[in-house]
């Protein structure tokens, strides 16, 4: 039963008739509208290829006491598989999982970003061509949007947001642990420490600027004047939310760079310079 019964005006027959005018062409745009979706497509593909490669490596993701450091790649944290190297931050919850632990933990950031309102725009435009750019014809004859399976699953975004926050807490702990210098004076700051801290901060900014976070913190409230705390949170998140796209790209890039840095140090290709 519709909730509008009794309030809703009597249905008015919708007038949809009439021939459209204008030329029947895909687009009349003459600017470089193909550039943006191509760049997005290339960058996302690059990240997916690197992340897949890194996730299947199952090695060189932790720099431990033997190097007087405590650095773990964000792709492998928390390390919860049976194959985790000793010392890496994990409680080995999944003893039966003998494959790369990254394949388990990456489900959370993957789900969070795939269902993210910004990334939806990015991949609907660049991969699905629905549409490729504004004013360019949709690449599909029929369109049902997010009303049916599988795209109706996008509505699960808020749950991935909560899981993402839990993961951010773990990565923040990793960043704090990166100040440890086992066997080299106790506590200090290295380039790796700064990299892990910056990664955690950027991921927090990305998560907090999320549209689901904005809604859960205050957006669902109708009467702000009666909920000053929620209104305050909403006012803090709203300007961050306006930068969600930029934060999405920067945090995505930095998480890959963090993994790369830890990987290079763990494999001995570079050393992690201690600053003080």
């Amino acid at each position: 039963m519709s909730t509008q019964e009794g309030i809703r005006p009597a249905p008015v027959p919708l007038v949809l008739g009439g021939a459209r005018g204008g030329p029947r062409v895909r687009t009349l745009r003459r600017d470089s509208w193909k550039r943006s979706p191509l760049i997005t497509q290339g960058y996302l593909l690059l990240f997916v290829v690197y992340a897949t490669w890194a996730a299947f490596q199952n090695s060189n993701y932790y720099v431990g006491a033997s190097s007087h450091r405590d650095l773990i790649s964000p792709f492998y944290s928390p390390c919860i598989g049976a194959s985790c190297v000793p010392g890496s931050h994990g409680s080995f919850l999944l003893h039966w999982w003998t494959y790369s632990p990254a394949l388990v933990i990456l489900i959370i950031p993957l789900g969070f970003r795939v269902t993210c309102y910004y990334y939806r725009k990015a991949y609907y435009r660049s991969f699905w061509h629905s549409p490729q750019a504004c004013g360019v014809a949709d690449g599909h004859k029929k369109y049902t949007g997010e009303t049916r399976f599988p795209l109706i699953i996008q509505n699960i975004h808020r749950y991935f947001f909560v899981l993402g926050v839990l993961l951010n807490i773990m990565l923040t702990i990793d960043a704090v642990m990166a100040f440890r210098m086992p066997g080299a004076g106790g506590i200090g700051v290295s380039v790796g420490t700064i990299v892990l801290c910056a990664n955690a901060v950027l991921l927090w900014f990305y998560s907090v600027s999320c549209h689901a976070c904005r809604h859960l913190c205050g957006g669902h409230v109708n009467e702000f004047s009666k909920h000053p705390v929620r209104h305050g949170l909403w006012k803090i998140i709203t300007p961050l939310n306006a930068k969600h796209m930029q934060l999405a790209w920067v945090s995505l890039s930095f998480v890959a760079l963090t993994d790369l840095y830890v990987r290079l140090v763990a494999s001995g290709i570079i050393t992690d310079p201690k600053i003080f």
Binding site: S2, G6, R30, K121, Y124, G135, I152
Partner: protein, 269 residues
Amino acid sequence: MADVVMRIWRGDSEGGEFQDFPTQVSEGEVVLDVVHRIQAEDAPDLACRWNCKAGKCGSCSAEINGLPHLMCMTRMDTLPTEEPVVIAPMKTFPIIRDLVTDVSFNYEMARRLPPFAPKDPGPDGTYRMQQIDVERGQEFRKCIECFMCQDICHVIRDHEENKEHYAGPRLFIRYMELESHPLDTNDRRELLREEMGLGYCNITKCCTEVCPEHIKITDNAIIPLKERVVDASYDPVAWLGRKILRRTKKTATEAANHRTDPKPVKASQ
């Protein structure tokens, strides 16, 4: 003075074609100025809708070089003039003639929107709202109903069949204004999900990009509405929370029945 060719769509529901009008452009002119000059000098039967010439009436919407713009707010010096400037009618709506389209689809969808249903007034018979509650809806009231957001939305631009069950961005900001109104009692979430096609929007933000009033249609209206629909229909935790805390919003029927003795509303000065 600069030379420019204006390539304007001429035709009606039977068909049409582009017609080139070589002309000159003076400094500071907008597209509508040039179209008016062509009307005056070359094509007195050229049809275009306009009114305020100040970007506030929303009448002169047309597609300039493939994207919807207000003709009165598009300066000629922002357009590349080495090629003809292409002006076509809005693609999404039925054509009447030349650059004039029939936008009555939007009015029909507006009629389907459940109206504001205020709760009981205060003891003194008036309604009062705090300033921070008033401010939230102000952004949506900037809409001038140019319908360029409706025009650019691919859900109906490229899929005529979706018009039967898709309200479109212009109406979604109105839904959001009412849904977040502290005095409103009507619950439109089920309607939005079932009949107004909120799920058809895939957040590509073209509506926001073309809005001449710079309303953040997607971020401030469509996505918050989607989240509210998730609250109502897709989130079992939210459903459980409402049951435990007894915070279920009144349906429109309950709200209507509750108001058994409506008091006269005094106009607030």
